[in-house]
Assembly symmetry: C2
Homo-oligomer: 103 residues x 2
């Protein structure tokens, strides 16, 4: 679903990744992280799609909110497993959304 | 593929969309736009994935480069067809990438 974010400015985290083969607990953890993120202060929404690469964009009110989410202990464990098991490679981009429009 | 963008800051355009049913010339135009964008001044790369929603993130050196790409006549035609035929809805977010890191 396309996130109904508030009027800009707000923040986006673009997470682009290439998975390893197999699930190995990834699906369950991804679902758990989706719920956990949605409960965080400053969370505005998430959009996600995957074919050859996966792109997950999460939206936040502030850099502070992004930093806090990165530090949540269960999320830190997920990041650790991500590097050990689930991702061949990924890139994270922290962005200020300056303007948006829709159709 | 994950785009090998230069050191931040640079710009990202997050294009999130929901397609209509059927192809109706969409695939050909998408391929053509991919090539055309890649030849634009200030283009840095693109990442794209689609399941229920599609997310295409293109990267640019400046707001000027983004504005110029939006105004390319063949791209304007694609935008018009997009609203007439290919997309139920979409959202475009213009972002300043402030920081990035990778694994």
């Amino acid at each position: 679903m396309i996130s109904q974010t508030p009027q800009a400015p707000y923040y986006a985290v673009i997470f682009t990744s290439i998975r390893t083969a197999g699930d190995d607990g990834y699906g369950d953890m991804a679902a758990e992280m989706g719920k956990l993120a949605a409960g965080q202060e400053g969370y505005l929404g998430v959009e996600s799609a995957r074919n050859e690469i996966g792109i997950t964009v999460s939206y936040w009110t502030s850099l502070e909110a992004i930093k806090n989410w990165k530090a949540v202990s269960r999320h830190r464990l997920a990041q650790q497993y991500g590097q050990q098991k689930w991702y061949q490679s990924y890139k994270v981009r922290i962005c200020l959304v300056e303007r948006d429009y829709e159709f």
